[in-house]
């Protein structure tokens, strides 16, 4: 579920579009970066967003504030993220990113302790449902 804490923290996740039951990836898991600077739930690459066919739904637009003070527009809708035994729901959006990014909305479901001294981290206390 989690990888050794060497650099940026990652989680192994599965993404589900509950409206058509599509899951990404179809086999195994995909790595998503944990970014406390991002206030959203999950940011996807546009190709992954399309594979899951989230774009078949009518999408909500919102503005995201970049660190340089500029805004970009992102589009998204609601979906599920499965991590280990837990399944959480939240706003899944797409933009020009190279990675999958989990933000604060996602993290608010968990108690995560990062211990860079021992290169270890703990992941407990989910508020979302147990699969």
């Amino acid at each position: 579920m989690i990888l050794p804490l060497i650099d940026t923290p990652f989680l192994e996740i599965l993404i589900e579009n509950p409206f058509n039951s599509r899951i990404y990836p179809e086999e195994g898991v995909v790595l998503a970066i944990v970014d406390t600077g991002y206030e959203g739930f999950l940011m996807l690459r546009e190709d992954v967003f399309k594979v899951l066919r989230f774009d078949e739904l009518s999408l909500e637009e919102r503005r995201l504030l970049l660190p340089n003070g500029n805004f970009i527009v992102s589009r998204g809708t609601y979906g599920m993220v499965k991590v280990g035994d837990f399944k959480c729901e939240g706003f899944i959006e797409a933009s020009k990113v190279d990675e999958l990014i989990l933000g604060i909305d996602f993290l608010s479901n968990f108690r995560i302790t990062l211990d860079y001294c021992t290169n270890d981290w703990k992941f407990t206390n989910a508020k979302c449902s147990v699969v």
């Binding site: 509950p18 409206f19 991002y38 078949e56 739904l57 970049l66 979906g79 989910a126 147990v130």
Partner: protein, 104 residues
């Protein structure tokens, strides 16, 4: 540290013990940790307020639920074509910080 004596139905007790074993492990004291976490979370969720999901087809509200899973179930039961469906949640922030990984 307080000590509470509580009574649970058999099915809830079995479910609680299963989850504690799977997530927290079988060490002594983990059941108490789980109960404390669960109560903290419940209190937090009460303070945070409930969210509501709404599904619109055009301007028409076709389903409303307190969770996405429940909304999907309602839509499936009513046979609504999900293509073009607009899903709204009551707490979506229209402006949010993107972090350093996004590009303009």
């Amino acid at each position: 540290m307080g000590t509470l004596t509580i009574v649970l139905s058999d099915d809830v007790e079995e479910e609680v013990r299963r989850i504690v074993r799977e997530i927290y492990g079988s060490d002594r004291g983990n059941l108490s940790k789980f109960i404390e976490d669960a109560i903290r979370n419940y209190i937090h969720s009460l303070k945070k307020g409930e969210v509501v999901y709404r599904a619109y087809k055009g301007d028409e509200l076709v389903a409303e639920a307190k969770s996405l899973e429940e909304l999907v179930k309602l839509l499936r039961e009513s046979g609504v074509d999900v293509r073009g469906l607009r899903i709204i949640r009551s707490d979506l922030k229209r402006v949010a910080r993107a972090g350093y990984r996004l590009r303009a």
